[in-house]
Amino acid sequence: MTDRPIKVLIAKPGLDGHDRGAKVLARGLRDEGFEVVYTGLRQTPEMIVTAALQEDVDVVGLSILSGAHMTLLPKVTRLLRERGLDDVLVTAGGIIPDDDIPALEEAGVAAVFGPGTTIAEVAAYIRSHVRPPEA
């Protein structure tokens, strides 16, 4: 089967308790035909990377509102690389100032989606940037 669904992990690193956005995104990507693994609130980078590895996801989508993105997101991308998951597409969303985006991209975050991004935009980005499936 070559048209197998793209698998996406939606995770919330850090301590903020606001997961409405992440849930709406998870639900929206489900409706776009993705298989979405939702792991819930208060994930450590280690939990996120273990889930990404065990689930063999194509994409890790990180939702963060707490302001700790400059420490947590680079830690996730570094751990992904350390565990051999450097071909996984990493995206982020939430409240992330524009000024921080270049440094996050430098750290391996492929795209940052700010408030107002539509589900369709996220889905289109994922479809065009995801790794090709193994035969």
Binding site: L29, F34, V36, Y38, A51
Partner: protein
Amino acid sequence: MSEPGIRALELADAAVAGDRRALARLLTAVENRTAIAEAALRHLYPSTGRAHLVGITGAPGAGKSTLVAALIAEVRAVGRAVAVVAVDPSSPITGGALLGDRVRMQAYASDDGVFIRSMASRGHAGGLAATSTSAATVLDAAGFDLVLLETVGTGQSEVEVAAAADTTVVLETPEMGDEVQAIKAGLLEVADIVVVNKGDRPGAQRTAAQLRAMLMSTASPRVAAGSRDTSSVARDERADRPRPKRPDVLITTASTGEGVPALLAALDRHRAAGREGLADGARLARAEAQVWAIVSERLRERFHGAASGNVTASTLRAVAEHRLDPYAAADRLLASITGDRPAD
């Protein structure tokens, strides 16, 4: 050797040697039913059959994921390696799925003795994904002592897990229904262990008592020792007839772990009984289900390829417009593939 064959052996050997990334990739291949998956499964099959495969099933919200998390904690406390295959439904409309079972199982990020994999059902209707049994086989080969198969939230008749697992646990919750619910055919019949979860809720004891009464009395009455009216013929018939199970009924509160040690002990007892040959029939039934599933899949693939699009479309149109009945259409399609004369 073919290229997928070589890649399959690499992945399979790495997965067995403890490489979790390779294991995860192999499971993806299994889910996608690639050539790599088939070659790897053939390679691994002789070294499987060691793990205890436990099915966990029950209605949506009964607490399956929470119970699985509690079982993981209990099993890890004694150092056994445990893997989970957690199935959630795929959308019949978009094919997408929301896999949310990990939410309750996240405490083991740095524990190599725990491996959790979510699977979408991908249109398969029996409570599992079509590839869940194969995924369990891979995890068995990778050395996990206990493999938990968590089904989608089930209704009354999704009993497939019983064929896939050595031991089937059916979850109920207090006040799920009256005694008539307990004597209906279906899900409860395939239980080796019935668990009344949410044991801290009112009515848990009563629900367990009702289930015990109903499930025990539906099981075939034991023939009294020395009973005179059992001729050898009658006894043989009795032995051949499929017999209802007499499941243990336990109470747990998965969210606190209450009752979970007793559940694990019951699982271990059932496993030990299976090793003494009592589960021979179950193993044969599983082999039969697996082989026939592959046979029908291969036939379907072959026929799909062979049936010409035109014949299919025009035949389907005739059925849709009630000019042809679906049985005749099926015979006509089969005949176009096999070259036989359609049966009239």
